[in-house]
Amino acid sequence: MSLPEGWEMVVGLEVHTELRTATKLFCGCANAFGAEPNTQTCPVCLGLPGSLPVLNRRAVELAMAIGLALHATVSPSTFHRKNYFYPDMPKDFQISQYDRPINAGGHLDLPDGSRVGIERAHLEEDTGKSTHLGGTGRIHGAERSLVDYNRAGVPLVEIVSAPDLRSSAQARAYAAELRGILMATGASDGRMEEGSMRIDANVSVHRVGEPFATRCELKNLNSLRSLQRAIDYEADRQYALVASGGVVRQETRHWDEDRGVTSTMRVKEEADDYRYFQEPDLVELDPAPAWVEAVRAGLGPMPAERRARLAALLGTPSPAQFDAVETVVDLGVDDHVDAAIAAGVEPDRAIARAANELAGDPHERAGLTPGAFAATLRLEQSGDLSATQAKTVLATLALSGGDPAAVARELGFERMASGELESLVDRLIAEHPEEWGRYREGDDKLAQFFTGQVMRATRGQADGKAVVEVLRARRG
């Protein structure tokens, strides 16, 4: 569904990303996902009386890296207490940044050429994780809530876009590009399913040319797909409401992935209700230019630049090839591609194989180093392995590591199947029309030429007699 002619949606996204630090934002408790509940807490993150927060230097640097990657200005900043009563924060307040965020202004350019403004990217602490017991498992039916404070105090950066997005697809593209940037800075692992990157969407609809209308905030968007679906649903809901004479009320709405609908969670409180005030236990943060420049110097290339570089290796990439380039950059496997190309593999093959065979959790393919990847593709390119065999070798290496040639031998891929030899000979015939013509006219010495070419391509692994048989069969 989409809005009728003359109407448009306005979307702004708030993206929270956990930072990949060793410790929490204000204490030395480990910042690690998946630990036993309540094993990573201390007086500071539990809010025990007399404890004092001390800011994590690495978290500051990662926050600056995010800001710089988004072309924002690193600015003098302070911390505030955001006061609310909810058991996920044992202190009854969250330390955040309010009127003076560490990064102000900025923008992000999308692959389609559109530019999205970044209003701010500020530091704050994460809350504990609640699970709800009883009822149907849905929040409202729960009778008790259980809280694990391991996540309370984990460093977050919240990136607030300007209300510049005009479609759910553009919102999705923004979230995807931002995710790539966050991963490229080393600040985030970008895992939405584990909650290390979380997105809230502000959505409103209005007639083109009229002022922006009242917005609703959508929560529980746990994937890029959810984000897109929820925005479309919400825009349609608001349009239907307004078209039938109703009024959109400013509120927070919960996206139900299974039912594909949003529903009222709570009516938006005024900002004042959080009674923000400056955190007296933390001093001003005002990074010296040298510190900021050191962080900037440590930034690697961002996704847009990496895509452009890989695409240039392909000359004029087809849409499918460009998709593969995007996948390589999304997966962050540029090193594998580079290693393969350095080893003499054609860029097209290196990029296609990397896009298709290196998906999934990097931890689950630790054995498939850039070097092993390159060597395998080299074996494929030389004809020692068929495409199917190469993929099997890659999968085996991912699981258990090892030397590609040895793995291929163990898998029984040492010899070339006759079909592969035939296709190699056919390729060589096509590549050497003059020699082939002389051979066809009866110059048998040229059989040696073709055998030599096959041996070179297969690094001596082909059977010379079999080559001559194929040549004879082709000559007819």
């Binding site: 060793a22 408790c29 309540n38 094993t39 800011l55 009674r275 933390l282 001003e284």
Partner: protein
């Protein structure tokens, strides 16, 4: 600027989860109004050239290295909880999600 109203104090009390009776509400409205009026005296000064003070200490950039330190023993932590289920703090059910 108008004097602080009872309604404003009642709202702040509600947000802070403090129950005030009518007598207390009257007394605190009066006291808080005096505090605000005292602070308002500053408005009489010309502070155009004075930079805002973020903290009386004048320190900036107090940071620590990102090195893990031992957390508390879980049994000790959970002993502080009102109730414990599956090694988690068990609390009355929560309506809605965190802000």
């Amino acid at each position: 600027m108008e004097r602080l109203s009872r309604a404003e104090v009642a709202k702040v009390a509600r947000l802070a989860r403090i129950a005030l009776d009518d007598v207390e509400l009257e007394r605190f409205t009066d006291q808080l109004a005096q505090v605000l009026e005292h602070a308002r005296d500053l408005e009489a000064l010309d502070l155009a050239g004075v930079a805002p003070t973020a903290h009386p200490h004048g320190l900036i950039n107090v940071v620590r290295d990102d090195e893990v330190r031992a957390s508390l023993d879980r049994a000790e932590v959970l002993a502080q909880a009102p109730d414990v289920v599956e090694d988690r703090f068990a609390v009355p059910r929560i309506i809605g999600e965190a802000p």
